[in-house]
């Protein structure tokens, strides 16, 4: 099961505690997480399932390459880190 971590400022907008979910790609893991959290799904991906433009997802510290299909591979001990841009100055 891959670990899925959301940044704290995301957790303030939407319920999204750290969790684990099965899957061989980013899409599969996130779909498993979103299955019980429609609000989170709508914030992270659009109607087609592509990553929204203000979101960034990293697998084991590397930005995902495929923002549309989320096909980047995930290992069982991977960490998926989900963040959005900050702009405070």
């Amino acid at each position: 099961m891959a670990k899925v971590v959301f940044t704290k400022n995301l957790r303030e907008h939407i319920a999204c505690p750290e969790t684990s979910a099965p899957g061989a790609t980013v899409r599969e893991v996130l779909d498993a997480v979103f299955a019980s959290n429609d609000l989170l799904r709508g914030y992270v991906v659009d109607e087609r399932g592509a990553l929204r433009q203000h979101m960034n997802v990293f697998v084991d510290g590397a930005n995902v390459r495929d923002r549309v299909k989320l096909s980047d591979p995930v290992e069982t001990d991977s960490e998926i880190y989900v963040m959005q841009a900050l702009s405070g100055g």
């Binding site: 704290k8 914030y43 900050l86």
Partner: protein, 253 residues
Amino acid sequence: MPTERPSQDLNARDRAVYEWQLWVPGYGEEGQRKLKNASVLISRCGGLGSPVAYELAAAGVGRLILAHGGNLKPSDLNRQILMEDAWLGKPRVECAARKLKALKPDLEILAVPENVSEENAERLVAEADLVVDCAPLFEERYAMNRQCVRQRKPLIEASMYELEWQLTTMHPGRTPCVACLHPKKPEAWKREFPVFGAVSGAVGCMAAMEAIKVLSGIGEPLYNILLRGDLHDMSFRRLRIARNPACEVCGAL
């Protein structure tokens, strides 16, 4: 091009003031000379930009362009460390310039009482060799980014929210630009955000160090790395980021 400044060598006073940093291996007089002859634009001297400006002035950067609009309010005083209580109600950028001059009377300052916008970004970026982006609004960051890409200027991106922060150093054509990384701003972003001065101060000091590294050539700047931290638990992450070949701003480089 920045306003033409004749290249200046170090003098006896510089050698005395900067003695302790001249000892840094690989830096030395050559690094100090580069700082002395550099112009740095800082977009806003608020919570982040104040320590950036102060540390760059302290380190001996020769010229600072400060873009910061508005008058000083009480709610600025928990983090904008170039400000002072006696200046409430008066232009912030003037207070920042005074404070910097008190530390470094020889420092050249171009104090611009405006925030960065589509209208002034081209002119302001043209004044600088390097830009440190400390603006609270995405619109300011996108305007600055477009000009940095157009003018091929390095851009240090520092930002924060509450106890979280992020920092990266961008070089047009070599690293992602702001639009590669964040094509659109978050829907939920608000103008006002929770902040302790100790958080903006910590990130501002790291951003200043990135500027010193890029200008002097020491160390390894955060190229293609997004450093992200959360001071709630002092966790730091080095995230690998890459250019977007389809980026509307820098894709053609």
